[in-house]
C-alpha cells in the first residue's frame, strides 16, 4: 500500500494548523520535536488517529507545565498508511533528515517490529504504546519499551482465569477460536487456547485467517457450526463487527464471546453493531475512563474538553499514547536528561505511573509487575470492568444474553 500524497499533505496541514493554534508557556531550554509515524490511512487509520490525539494531548499538557525538562515539545506526525515498509522509511526520515530529538511508537506490533529495528540502529529510545506481540521482545533490542500493563500474549489470561473459576455446573465445556494472523491478536488467542485446554475446555474449532480478509462470513459460519459454549476471537475492529453481525444472522448465541479489539472502541463499536446488540460482549482492556490511576481523571476531562464526546467514547489507544508521554516525562526527570542514552538507562529501572496504572520494564522492554489486563463487558450500553473482582465495577453476565 502506497502512502497517498494527499493524505500526507492533509496531515502536514493539520500539523501546521495545530502548531499555529497552540498557546503554551515556552520552556527555558531549546524547543524539541518528537517524531511519530502514525497510521492515518489504511487498516489502522482509526487507531492511528486515536494515538495522535493521545500524543497531542500529552504534548499540550507538558508544554503547559513548562515542557519536557524545560524543553517545549512539538509533535511531528508522518502517515505510514499502515504499511510495514512506509513505517521504516518514516522513522529513518524523522531521525536522519528531520533530526527529531525523540521518537514515540506507531500503532500495532506489525509496524512496531520493523520500526524499532531502525530506531535502535540510531540509538533512540523507543517507548511505544501498541506493539506488545511476543516478537517485539525477542530480537535482543534494549531500546524498546512497551507502555501497557502487560505483554500482549497475556491479554486474555484474566479471561481464562475467570472462565475456569466458574462453578462446575456453569463451566464451559468447549471453545471455538478464530484469529487474524497478526502478531497482536494470534499470540493472545493461542495462549488462551492453551490455558483453557489445560483447564479441561475442549477446542471445537480453531482457525487462523489472513489480515487482508474482507469477507468474514465463511469464518463465522465455521464458528457457528462448531457450536461451542465459548467463542474467543483475535480481531481488529472491522472483523470484530463482522463476526457479531454474522452470529446474529445465524442466531448463534454462545455463552460467552470475547474479542481482542473492537468492543474496546466505545461508541464507535456500538454505532456499528447497534447499541442493543453489544450486551454481554467482552474485551480485554488495560484502561478505562473510570480507573483510579495516576492522572486518569485529568486525562479524561481534558480529552473530552479538547475533542468532544463522552468519557466512554475515548479509545484506549489514546490513553496508551498519553501514557508513553507520561513515562518519558518521568524518565527524563529521573535521568535529568532528554538524551536517548540516558532515557534508555533510566527506563530499565524503577516504576512509572501512567493513566493505565504503574508499570516497569525488563531488559527486553516487556512491562513488569503492572496491574495486569482487566476484562470489560458491555452491560446496559457501556463497557464495564467485570474482572478481576478487586477492580470490578459490575458482576460478569454469564451466560451472555441472547441477541435481541
Amino acid at each position: 500500500m502506497r502512502q497517498p500524497l494527499s493524505v500526507t499533505c492533509l496531515g502536514l496541514g493539520l500539523l501546521l494548523a495545530a502548531c499555529g493554534g497552540s498557546s503554551t508557556t515556552p520552556g527555558s531550554a531549546a524547543p524539541i520535536t518528537i517524531g511519530v509515524s502514525v497510521s492515518l490511512s489504511g487498516d489502522f487509520s482509526g487507531d492511528g488517529k486515536a494515538l495522535e490525539q493521545g500524543y497531542d494531548l500529552w504534548a499540550q499538557d507538558i508544554n503547559k507545565n513548562g515542557g519536557l525538562l524545560g524543553h517545549k515539545v512539538t509533535m511531528k506526525y508522518v502517515d505510514d498508511a499502515s504499511s510495514t515498509q512506509q513505517v521504516v522509511t518514516n522513522y529513518q526520515t524523522l531521525i536522519t533528515q528531520d533530526k527529531v530529538a525523540l521518537v514515540f511508537g506507531p500503532f500495532s506490533s506489525l509496524l512496531t517490529i520493523p520500526a524499532s529495528t531502525v530506531t535502535d540502529r540510531y540509538g533512540y529510545a523507543f517507548p511505544e504504546p501498541a506493539g506488545g506481540g511476543p516478537k517485539v521482545f525477542t530480537r535482543g533490542l534494549h531500546s524498546i519499551f512497551f507502555v501497557q500493563p502487560a505483554a500482549v500474549e497475556d491479554n486474555l489470561v484474566s479471561y481464562t482465569k475467570w472462565l475456569l473459576s466458574l462453578p462446575s455446573g456453569q463451566k464451559p465445556k468447549s471453545a471455538a477460536y478464530a484469529t487474524q494472523d497478526d502478531p497482536f491478536t494470534q499470540p493472545q488467542v493461542d495462549k488462551a487456547k492453551a490455558l483453557l485446554e489445560a483447564g479441561g475446555v475442549t477446542t471445537a474449532s480453531y482457525k487462523v485467517y489472513p489480515a487482508e480478509t474482507t469477507d468474514f462470513t465463511p469464518l463465522a459460519l465455521q464458528v457457528v457450526h462448531a457450536n461451542a459454549d465459548v467463542v474467543v476471537l483475535g480481531t481488529q475492529e472491522p472483523d470484530a463487527v463482522a463476526f457479531v453481525k454474522a452470529f446474529q444472522q445465524q442466531h448463534y448465541n454462545p455463552k460467552s464471546l470475547i474479542e481482542t479489539t473492537g468492543p474496546d472502541q466505545g461508541k464507535d463499536f456500538a454505532d456499528k453493531v447497534g447499541a442493543g446488540n453489544t450486551e454481554g460482549i467482552m474485551v480485554p482492556a488495560g484502561w478505562t475512563p473510570d480507573a483510579k490511576a495516576y492522572g486518569n481523571d485529568k486525562f479524561v476531562s481534558e480529552f473530552v474538553a479538547k475533542y468532544g464526546g463522552a468519557p466512554g467514547d475515548i479509545s484506549a489507544d489514546a490513553a496508551e499514547a498519553y501514557s508513553v508521554g507520561q513515562v518519558v516525562d518521568q524518565a527524563s526527570k529521573k535521568a535529568n536528561s532528554i538524551e536517548n542514552k540516558a532515557l534508555i538507562t533510566a527506563l530499565h529501572s524503577g516504576t512509572y505511573n501512567t493513566v493505565q496504572g504503574p508499570m516497569s520494564f525488563d531488559s527486553s522492554g516487556k512491562p513488569q509487575g503492572g496491574v495486569g489486563v482487566y476484562i470489560e463487558q458491555w452491560q446496559g450500553g457501556a463497557a464495564k470492568f467485570v474482572y478481576p473482582t478487586s477492580v470490578a465495577a459490575a458482576k460478569p453476565e454469564y451466560p451472555k444474553p441472547n441477541w435481541p
Binding site: 500500500m1 497517498p4 500524497l5 494527499s6 493524505v7 499533505c9 492533509l10 492515518l40 490511512s41 489504511g42 487498516d43 487509520s45 482509526g46 492511528g48 488517529k49 498508511a81 499502515s82 494472523d181 482457525k207 487462523v208 485467517y209 489472513p210 487482508e212 480478509t213 474482507t214 469477507d215 462470513t217 465463511p218 469464518l219 459460519l221 465455521q222 457450526h225 475492529e237 472491522p238 463487527v241 463482522a242 453481525k245 446474529q248 444472522q249 445465524q250 442466531h251 464507535d268 454505532d271 456499528k272 447497534g274 446488540n277 441477541w403
Partner: protein, 291 residues
C-alpha cells in the same frame, strides 16, 4: 457437507455484489480500452455518499441509490470529459496513472470529510435472516443479489435493445470503425464511464452494509475487482459476472473446507490455469486491432 453448501450459497450471494462492482470496470475497459484503477475508490465514494444521506436524513441505505446513482453517473461523465478524454496517445498506460491519481484524490478527500475511522451503513436487513433447511440467509445478501440482477439486467437491455447500446457495442468492437460509420465515440465513452461509475455506487452501498469501511478500503477492493475482470475476460460483462461468482464461491468453500489462508491461493490457481488455456479470459475475445 452442510457447511460446504452454506459456503457455496453465501459465495453466490456475495458474488453478485462483486459482479456489480466489477461490471462498471469491465464496461469502461470494453468501450475505452482503459483500466480504471480508481473503480475501487469510486465504490467507496458511493458507499460514503449513501452513508452521508443515511446519517443526515436517516434514509434507508438502499433507497439512497435513487440519489447517489444519478449523482455518480454525473460525476462519471465529468471525470471522463476532464481526465480521460484528453488522453489521445498511449491511453492504456496513461489511464492507469490518471485513474490511480483519481483514486488517491478521492481517498484524501474522503479522509478529510469523513475522517479515517471505519464506518458502516446500518439497516434492519443487515442481520435479519430467514431459514432455508436450517441455514439462515440474511436479507441484505438477498437484496444485494436482487439489486445486482436488476442493474445488470437493465445494463444488458440498454446494450442489446437500444440504439445507444448498438453504438456502444460498435465502439467496443472497433473504435475507429464506429467513428467512421457516424458513432459519436466521445459521447458514448462519457456515458459508458458514467454508467460504470453509477454501478460502483450500487455496489458500494451493499459493500457498505456488509463491511465496515474507511477511505483506504479501496486498495483491497480494486485488486479483487481487477482479478475478476481478468478471469472473466477484459470487456466482457457476462465474464465479469461468472468470474465474480467463481471467485467468491471458490474462496468461501476453500475457507471452510481447508483454511481461510488458502482461500485466495486456490482462486489464483484457477485463474492461472484458465489463463494458460484461454489467455483472453473466460469470455474475452482476442483483439487483433493492429494488422
Amino acid at each position: 457437507m452442510t457447511l460446504v453448501l452454506e459456503a457455496a450459497a453465501l459465495g453466490i450471494l456475495t458474488g453478485g455484489v462483486y459482479a456489480l462492482m466489477a461490471s462498471g470496470l469491465t464496461l469502461i475497459f470494453g468501450v475505452m480500452r482503459i483500466i480504471n484503477v480508481g473503480q475501487g475508490a469510486l465504490v467507496i465514494l458511493g458507499a460514503y455518499l449513501s452513508f452521508a444521506f443515511f446519517r443526515s436524513w436517516h434514509l434507508d441505505p438502499l433507497l439512497t441509490l435513487v440519489i447517489t446513482m444519478p449523482l455518480m453517473f454525473g460525476l462519471g461523465v465529468i471525470l471522463q470529459i476532464v481526465f480521460i478524454r484528453p488522453l489521445k496517445t498511449d491511453r492504456e498506460a496513461l489511464s492507469v496513472l490518471v485513474t490511480y491519481a483519481l483514486a488517491l484524490g478521492i481517498e484524501g478527500a474522503l479522509g478529510y470529510v469523513f475522517t479515517t475511522n471505519y464506518v458502516q451503513l446500518r439497516a434492519w436487513y443487515e442481520t435479519a435472516s430467514f431459514a432455508v433447511f436450517g441455514f439462515h440467509i440474511t436479507y441484505v445478501y438477498v437484496f444485494g443479489f436482487l439489486l445486482c440482477i436488476a442493474i445488470l439486467g437493465a445494463l444488458f437491455l440498454v446494450l442489446y435493445r437500444t440504439s445507444f447500446g448498438g453504438a456502444l457495442r460498435a465502439t467496443m468492437l472497433n473504435r475507429t470503425a464506429a467513428q467512421l460509420i457516424g458513432v459519436d465515440v466521445d459521447r458514448v465513452s462519457a456515458i459508458a464511464f458514467g454508467i460504470g461509475v453509477a454501478t460502483a455506487a450500487a455496489g458500494g452501498v451493499v459493500f457498505g452494509i456488509t463491511n465496515a469501511f474507511n477511505p483506504g478500503s479501496h486498495y483491497d477492493l480494486i485488486s479483487r475487482l481487477l482479478t475478476i475482470i481478468v478471469l472473466g475476460g477484459l470487456g466482457s460483462l457476462r465474464g465479469a459476472i461468472i468470474a465474480a461468482l467463481i471467485m467468491l464461491v471458490t474462496e468461501d468453500i476453500t475457507a471452510v473446507v481447508i483454511s481461510p489462508v488458502w482461500a485466495t491461493f486456490v482462486f489464483f490457481v484457477i485463474l492461472v490455469v484458465v489463463l494458460i488455456f484461454r489467455p483472453q479470459g473466460l469470455f474475452g475475445v482476442r483483439v487483433r486491432d493492429r494488422i
